[in-house]
């Protein structure tokens, strides 16, 4: 996002739905960028991301030094793809509060000192709080990078390869297609509402039912039209998907190589080893 867009985005003029649309379109644009990571098979990226998340989360709550090394993979990807880190960190606003709320209690219940930073004792609770938050951030970065480098149809092709049922994948594709349409309609309706109710912050109780209800009824008609247009083009009950391009050697190397690295970091205290060599 350039500075002008950022100013507009942050201004109160945009309602919540317009911001959501903006975010959706942004992820779309990022996925259309060009980098070696973008050209990798979506299956490779999906599998590596899942492995990264599982391994990151499996670190012991006191193993801060081991966990820290895991940040290197997302950072490497950010630099290889040119994707702005700012966009990723904006998304932290949703997940971090709950993680912090849970982690914040740890220093109160777990007070035994674990290590000394100079003269200051650091309790186990503080360490576990920090590892929890870091895990939250690292996992978010991994998911973000997956979607920022893989378009929805490529992702769905990968899901089909993993034998996720066709019904679910079709539903995901179709829903994604119409999320933008619905959000836009609601954004317009919300603006129209506020233009006639300038003092109100949200929808007044007298309109609770009809505001969404009207759009819901219109959407049912739209769904019928959509179904008709599918029927008219020969649809029975089978969706033909774009097939995923074949899994190549470099995709396999990428996946297996990184999983090996993650496992190494998990089970060998690399930081300790490095630190002990430095301190000799």
């Amino acid at each position: 996002m350039d500075d002008a867009s950022l100013l507009w985005f942050n201004s109160k003029a945009m309602n919540k739905m317009e911001k959501a649309l903006h975010e959706l379109n942004e992820m779309d644009d990022l996925a259309a960028m060009d980098s070696p990571i973008h050209h990798l098979s979506p299956l490779a990226k999906l599998l590596t991301t899942i492995a990264y998340i599982i391994i990151t989360v499996s670190f012991h709550k006191y193993d801060l030094s081991g966990l820290m090394i895991m940040v290197l993979w997302p950072i490497l990807l950010f630099s290889m793809t040119g994707i702005p880190v700012r966009t990723c960190f904006y998304k932290l606003r949703i997940v971090l509060p709950l993680v912090m709320a849970v982690g914040l209690f740890n220093p109160f219940f777990d007070r035994a000192p674990m290590l000394m930073l100079g003269n200051v004792p650091v309790s186990g609770g503080v360490i576990s709080m920090v590892t929890l938050m870091l895990k939250g951030v690292f996992c978010l970065m991994a998911s973000f990078l997956l979607i920022a480098t893989t378009s929805i149809d490529a992702l769905c092709a990968a899901l089909r390869k993993l034998h996720v049922p066709g019904t679910l994948v079709t539903l995901l594709l179709l829903t994604y297609r119409y999320v933008g349409v619905m959000t836009e309609e609601l954004a317009i309706m919300t603006d129209a509402y506020h233009l006639r109710a300038p003092g109100q912050k949200g929808i007044h109780i007298s309109a609770w039912g009809s505001f969404l209800g009207q759009l819901l009824l219109r959407s049912m008609d739209r769904a019928q039209e959509l179904y008709n247009s599918m029927l008219l083009r020969g649809y029975h009950d089978h969706f033909h998907y774009v097939e995923m391009k074949p899994f190549r050697m470099k995709d396999a190397l990428y996946t297996l190589g990184w999983i090996a690295v993650f496992l190494l970091v998990r089970y060998v205290d690399v930081a300790q080893w490095m630190g002990s060599h430095v301190m000799r």
């Binding site: 779309d28 119409y178 959509l226 033909h240 774009v242």
Partner: protein, 249 residues
């Protein structure tokens, strides 16, 4: 004398959505092969209902619907729908795949075409319509005009014998509207177009059917009907802009 083959036939068709409020009553009309016909009339006159009856999306309560000699019934409906292409008024309801290319391949793949062959056909049709840039674009990101053209492209992939269009120039800027008009003029399939844009009808259709309250009140050459001020104004219409000019200046 050459007997023109009837492409679409409605014979004494009646239809109502609710009992006691008929939309169409004993309506008969024929569209011949190769004709380009404009279907005009006020809102609620029954234009969309006629299109839906032709496509088998609605079932007439009485009368017969025939497409290319085939009666509209359960056995023939799939064959009939293969012969007819329908461009919806709201392109968002027509373009439901993620990308333009996938949407264009939807119909051919459903009808059993090989994927490689379908991909080649996509390139041919896009080139024919001058839309090669749209191929990999996402349907939810393209503009209204681009959506309309993409929708037309998806229909042409079916190689239909007749194309039905519901308000094809609605909500388009003058430039996009001109592209749609030129595209329609370049088609050689049978065409049936409903529209309020009488100037477009004038440029694209040789025959016009004027509908009012479910009855056909005029059916003839476009030039004759669209120059008849009294006839048009009697049925909630006006002369096309290019004949009448602006009322207020």
């Amino acid at each position: 004398m050459m007997i023109e083959k009837k492409m679409i036939q409605l014979d004494k068709v009646s239809f109502s959505y609710e009992p006691g409020r008929p939309i169409l009553q004993d309506l008969s009309l024929h569209i011949h092969k190769g004709e380009s016909v404009g279907l005009i009339g006020a809102n609620g006159a029954g234009k969309s209902t006629i299109l839906k009856l032709m496509l088998g999306l609605l079932t007439a309560q009485s009368g017969t619907v025939r497409v290319d000699g085939l009666d509209m019934n359960k056995e023939n409906i799939a064959t009939i729908r293969r012969k007819l292409g329908f461009v919806l008024q709201n392109s968002d309801n027509q373009l439901f795949m993620p990308t333009v290319e996938e949407d264009m391949m939807f119909a051919p793949l459903n009808y059993g075409m090989d994927r490689e062959e379908a991909e080649k056909k996509v390139d041919r049709v896009l080139e024919q319509l001058n839309l090669t840039d749209l191929k990999y674009r996402h349907n939810h990101r393209i503009s209204g005009g681009e959506k309309r053209m993409a929708a037309i492209a998806t229909i042409l992939m079916m190689e239909p014998e007749a194309i039905l269009m519901d308000e094809p120039s609605a909500a388009l800027d003058p430039c996009n509207r001109r592209i749609v008009i030129d595209t329609i003029r370049g088609m050689d399939q049978t065409r049936l177009i409903t529209s309020h844009d009488l100037d477009m009808i004038l440029e694209t259709c040789e025959r016009v059917i004027l509908l009012d309250k479910g009855q056909i009140v005029a059916d003839g050459r476009t030039e004759e009907i669209l120059k008849d001020r009294e006839l048009l104004e009697a049925h909630r219409m006006e002369l096309p802009f290019c004949f009448a000019g602006p009322r207020y200046r």
